[in-house]
């Protein structure tokens, strides 16, 4: 078998890979079928109904519509999302999201980092819920190692605590940006302020505000610090009051409701067809939450509600996220009550480095520690897909291992990447002024979309 180094790079052989523009083509350049598909006819109606509409749509001449470009440098696009919109007057006829501006080849990078280092890579994908990314990567690695049943109880509950607090911080940031996008600028300050309180706790626990690399294959990097319980209780005491303030500021406010209700509607069948998950799927009335329906960690043992909407509009998605903060607080309270003692990581010499104290006493421990951090540990051959519920929906990790200490292939199923596909269907027929509200209600994280 030839190694990579011996092989001739065949990059230049693929020089003729010009695949045409990624942009939205003008009406005259696309076929009727493609036009119908872009307009969402495939999802919304039967073929005969679509064919009947085709004549009506054909009436919009090219001179009556115009294509405008929105982003990628636009404050409301949450990063570098670019949308091409075809407008007739102020009505959006077609929309095409164009992504890739933040692509840094993280899946390729993942193929050169060991399973222990991989956490530093995946945690930067969805940078607003880094702990969930680490969790799904660690769980996939543990499944491949066959140790997923042996993770200590305390590690499981600690993971749940961090995962739920992360959901709260992510949703608080959503409330902030959603407020800002729609014009409730003071909400932006409040949301960031509360999120910062959660991040301060993360900093105390993990040492970093973001990109923690704290959840690792086999458990966690360290135990919770002294006084962690008081810090969490302080958060739980502070937040209900603040959430009540948000309700006064936004939920009950007529302007807020006018801007969101009935905007960016998506039906349940459309959401399923587009594989939308998380708050978008739940806003259509389908109660599907991986924490309850395909439980992992110890979610089976805690009591919480799955928040669902009824109309599938931007307002429902806002309300779901607001209430999910309360449900997460509910879970965190139960975790506080039930947090068991014990080890925070598995005591398996293969994956666990020796404790710091042993390194000073024992040469073998020093070598062992050095080996684990330089070479990593070997993971048996196989492939596995693990999915958990991140704040944005189902985040999945597919790892194929060839028996070495680096993943042969590491793929992350990013919820935002899939959810962004809903945009054309939510935008269609709406006003261009609502485009910002619709993007915001999807809550995309572009680091995860582009990876």
């Amino acid at each position: 078998m030839t190694t990579l180094e011996e092989r001739e790079p065949i990059v230049s052989a693929g020089a003729a890979t010009h695949e045409g523009g990624q942009e939205l083509l003008s009406r005259g350049e696309v076929s009727q079928k493609a036009l119908m598909r872009e307009a969402g006819a495939v999802l919304r109606m039967s073929e005969s109904a679509a064919a009947a509409l085709a004549q009506v749509q054909g009436d919009v001449g090219e001179d009556q519509s115009m294509i405008i470009n929105m982003g990628p440098q636009h404050p409301s696009t949450h990063g570098v999302l670019r949308l091409m919109l075809e407008l007739q007057g102020e009505t959006v006829l077609r929309c095409k999201p164009i992504i890739g501006y933040l692509h840094t080849g993280m899946e390729k990078t993942g193929e050169s980092l060991t399973f222990l280092q991989g956490g530093t890579n995946v945690t930067r994908m969805d940078y607003l819920s880094p702990l969930n990314n680490e969790l799904v990567f660690s769980m996939a690695t543990e499944k491949l190692l066959g140790i997923d049943g042996d993770i200590p109880e305390r590690a499981q509950w600690m993971r749940m605590l961090l995962s739920e607090l992360n959901r709260m911080s992510s949703h608080l940031l959503f409330l902030a940006t959603n407020g800002m996008d729609i014009g409730a600028v003071s909400m932006m300050l409040y949301g960031w302020r509360e999120r910062e309180e959660v991040l301060r706790f993360f900093q105390k626990v993990t040492g970093l505000r973001m990109n923690h690399n704290f959840i690792r294959p086999g458990g966690l990097a360290a135990d919770l610090p002294v006084g962690w319980r008081d810090d969490v209780l302080r958060l739980l005491d502070m937040l209900p009051e603040r959430l009540a303030e948000y309700e006064i500021l936004m939920t009950g406010q007529p302007i807020w409701r006018e801007r969101l209700q009935g905007v960016g509607v998506i039906t349940q069948s459309e959401a399923i067809a587009l594989a939308a998950t998380g708050p978008i799927l739940r806003s259509t009335g389908l109660d599907f939450d991986l924490r309850r329906d395909m439980p992992y960690l110890r979610y089976r043992e805690v009591d919480f509600d799955v928040v669902v909407g009824a109309h599938g509009d931007a307002y429902d998605r806002y309300a779901i996220r607001l209430h999910e903060i309360r449900e997460s607080m509910n879970i965190v309270r139960q975790v506080l009550e039930r947090m068991p003692g014990g080890d925070y990581r598995i005591q398996n010499k293969k994956v666990t480095p020796p404790p710091r104290g042993r390194i000073d006493e024992s040469m073998e421990a020093l070598i062992h520690h050095f080996k684990i951090f330089t070479e990593g540990f070997k993971v048996p051959e196989g492939e596995v897909y693990v999915a958990i519920e991140s704040p944005r929906g189902e985040i999945g990790c597919y790892i194929a291992s060839d028996g070495s200490s680096v993943p042969y292939r590491m793929h992350v199923r990013a919820p935002s990447f899939v959810n962004v596909q809903c945009l054309p269907h939510m935008m269609r027929g709406g006003l261009v002024a609502d485009a910002v509200a619709v993007i915001s209600s999807i809550d995309p994280v572009l680091g995860e979309v582009d990876r």
Partner: protein, 158 residues
Amino acid sequence: MPVAPEMPGVVASESHGQAVLFVEQSAYLAVVTALYRAGFTMCVDVTAVDYLVHPSRTLPPGVVAQRFEVVVNLLSLAARERVRVRVQVADGESVASLCDVHPSTEAMEREVFDMFGIRFDGHPDLTRILMPEDWDGHPLRKDYAQGRIPVQFKGAAS
């Protein structure tokens, strides 16, 4: 095994307790359609693996290894079950697109095409999605020279 459609060209298997179906290319679309009718209405993920430098992987008897493998993760919302469909694809071959059954695969198949160069027949808009459209090569292929290519930018003098 929760799902094992009795169809030709399908080898049912499992990996770490997860249901896996090895499907021949000719039966791919039919199997996914049958699974759709059986309740697997959500296509959660489409990805691929390039097994160029790991050809000796373990496969159940009856499955002929090829260079690429397209991996499709399906989810049944009603039964709360997952099934993974794995299709062997040789270099230069194309597979059927799932867009007509699962519209969600539109962006995912574009990503697989962009990263691996696997073509999907019947895809409405098979263009690059993450890389610039004039990019050379497909980055996630194992023979794509990592770190040894000149920096490529759209419109830059070369």
